[in-house]
Point group: C2
Chain length 457, copies 2
């Protein structure tokens, strides 16, 4: 069996290695041919902000597996080679390397793992089609290297456009490097939380010196007296000077698949079935797909390495072993932080916000509870706020949001597992969670929050 | 309704306040009369080691609610007054205060919340019945005050007898205060973990300079040349000089109930039904009870504040509102740490060890997995080991043990919720847990550990 994989990052390479492992396990012969358009394989895009912050010394540290390591494991990996066409009928792909040389390759099974591309407004480009000088995204290792080079001894002012995960992480990095940071977002900071919880993040960022501008969209470039681009203008009439980080989100890279007649969803992502298949002989995994949201029952675009890795394993197994495993979907679990010398905020969410639940037509209710991460008398005790969302009708837990100090964020996994198991607020309120003074209050704050809501339902 | 409560710590006072709350909610008249034999109410015994370590300045900080606060909430609280007899037929208790004055009190409903008492060998007492000079336990605030007074400017050598939670926490405290510490335990350090995981704790303690002696029991006093008690002798023929902390466990304080004809279990604890009732008109909560272990289906003696608080609330509700709520039982979830200048170990467990599962006749299998608490390139990354125990027959998760660096321990709650929901290893391996580089690897170590075991089942 000849497997062709398009894209050599998390999803594609998880699929590749899992296919080889599965083939060994079931005693089947497979070959894996993989194409990577860029210069890097299997790297942690999530680590780029920490590279800029100085936690990581070089982009190489963010590479989990090099091309050489993938090849050593038996993958025929073609770097800097783009797949330019898929013919699902003939089961062929057409590749083009940087020298322009094209080749056609037969496949039995094809895995599309083309990832997502950063959203960049047209006005952010100059006449050559490149980004304006001083503009950049934080998407791949080349972006990271460019930013690392820009942050010299004298910290420049920086404008971060976008108040989501990457925007907040970028803001942390730039503050830690001593930059004066302005964050502009068209909505609110951390809009994947309900407004009351997102506001806690905005307040924390402001306390660390970030100028937070909500409700304003970056709308064009700002120019200095000589007409040179020196920052961005915003929809509220503002003008902000400095280096510009565009953290406006990503969209699935699926043109190649669309051109081959493979359907995409409302958010532009490929719609794989639970086995990972998108068409006969064609599979997809990672940021180019929409994933099933277990609580809404609908596809969602949640471009995260966690899903990419899981989907990749599912696809790799199923290609070889005929649909044995299923991707269980997502809950929208996510975590990030904003940590500087002055402020330590951990930010996490899982499941539905009150807004999402209400929009779905659920009779949802939310309650915010404040507490501490450890017994109040301990030096480890930090403030934490927990929002719990539940269904008034069936008392089911629907979602949890956490904003708090050291140790607060990872509590989200406890909530995520409860959601994964479809548990009620009563079940969670009664559960046997761990307590010792440096780690929790005797009722853990998560459990207090769930219990308080349960008592009000 | 006249409610009498024996014991004014976590369980008793949770029951008291919950009864008053429930009475207000349902519009019922109740009076609560509570007796406390000691000098303190609602204090955190778990905080005592951190008081000794210097994290907490005084015992007062460990008091969650004073007698005055309880009284202000409407509880008729009699301090330094012991209940010396229960007559369940006449629904009366007999109290005796420190002046020796006895009184009889009628009740409609009685709550026994007498807690547990530290296990102290006879030879640890002098002729007057007091502990030998330099000996002590870490059970209540008076014990804490005695230890705090003993730790002056010149750190004394200390022998800790017992390698369980309190022993380890005491060892941390004494090391942090600069004491030379010897820990003696008849079994292994942290025997509530499987040996392979407990050994990691022993190694960490030794690395911090603790002399760890396993397989030896404290057997008597050691005396100096003048015949004065100066430490302990051990069953291996050893002799260890210094102050002596007895951390040999606790047993339920139930003689009063036994004398009244109320049955106790194999471990000496009262056997409450899920509503908290032990006999007509008599309820019990906290460390004087055995709790239902959800995985074994049998009563277990797990004297922890978490259960005491939950049981207290259940009892307080049910007394007033006629059996509306149930205590869901326990999983044996627990967390502690051993943290000094040199070593940071977080230690947690939930569910069954391999040894426990095997003893129950389950076809159990365990697998240990090592990883990091954060992405390896992050400064936050610390080593962590996770043992997962599962049932080979039905693939059910049976237990998890964690030993690792900062951030490792509280991951146990994620496993605990999975156990609470009766989830399989496959469900946990597929769940949507949170990832960002400072918080986890892209597959969280807990999930890697569960997945690896799932693949081998």
């Amino acid at each position: 069996m000849r497997i062709v994989i398009i894209g050599a990052d998390a999803a594609g390479m998880s699929a590749a290695h899992q296919a080889l492992r599965t083939a060994r396990a079931v005693g089947r012969e497979v070959s894996v041919l993989a194409f990577e358009a860029g210069d890097h394989t299997s790297y942690s895009a999530c680590g780029i902000p920490y590279w800029l912050a100085g936690d990581v010394d070089s982009g190489a540290e963010l590479v989990a597996r090099t091309a050489r390591e993938h090849r050593a494991a038996g993958i025929d990996l073609r770097m800097r080679t783009r797949v330019v066409a898929i013919d699902p009928t003939r089961r062929q792909v057409r590749s083009r390397d940087r020298a322009g040389i094209e080749e056609t390759h037969e496949y039995d099974e094809l895995v599309i793992a083309t990832g997502a591309a950063p959203i960049i407004p047209d006005w952010a480009h100059d006449d050559t089609g490149a980004l304006h000088e001083g503009f950049g995204v934080l998407h791949d290792l080349d972006d990271g290297a460019r930013w690392a080079a820009r942050l010299g001894a004298e910290p420049p002012p920086v404008v971060v456009a976008g108040g989501g995960y990457v925007g907040i992480e970028a803001a942390e990095a730039f503050v830690r490097r001593g930059c004066r940071v302005t964050l502009v977002t068209r909505g609110r900071v951390m809009s994947s939380l309900d407004p009351e919880m997102g506001a806690r993040v905005a307040v924390g960022m402001a306390a660390a010196g970030v100028k937070v501008i909500e409700g304003a969209e970056v709308a064009g470039v700002a120019r200095d007296g000589k007409g040179a681009v020196c920052g961005v203008s915003t929809s509220d009439g503002g003008s902000h000077h400095g280096l510009v980080t565009l953290a406006l989100g990503v969209r699935p890279r699926t043109q190649l698949a669309v051109d081959a007649g493979i359907p995409v969803g409302q958010r532009g992502g490929l719609l794989a079935d639970p086995t990972g298949r998108v068409a006969p002989g064609v599979w997809a995994a990672g940021d180019c797909t929409e994933v099933l949201h277990r609580l809404t029952g609908s596809p969602a675009f949640l471009p995260l390495g966690t899903h990419a890795n899981k989907q990749g394993r599912v696809v790799g197994t199923n290609i070889v072993d005929d649909g044995q495993v299923r991707f269980g979907g997502a809950l929208g679990t996510a975590i990030t932080r904003f940590v500087t010398a002055d402020v330590h905020l951990e930010i996490a969410r899982t499941g539905l916000t009150l807004a999402q639940a209400t929009e779905l037509g659920l009779d949802a209710v939310a309650l915010d509870t404040e507490g501490t991460t450890a017994s109040r008398y301990m030096p480890e005790a930090a403030d934490v706020a927990v929002r719990v969302v539940a269904d008034r009708q069936d008392r089911r837990l629907l979602g949890v949001q956490i904003v708090g100090g050291p140790g607060a964020g990872k509590r989200i996994d406890t909530a995520a597992i409860a959601l994964w198991g479809g548990m009620s607020v009563d079940e969670v309120a009664g559960a046997d969670l761990s307590y010792a003074p440096p780690f929790a209050t005797v009722w853990d704050i998560l459990q207090i929050a769930v219990r308080r809501l349960a008592e009000r339902l």
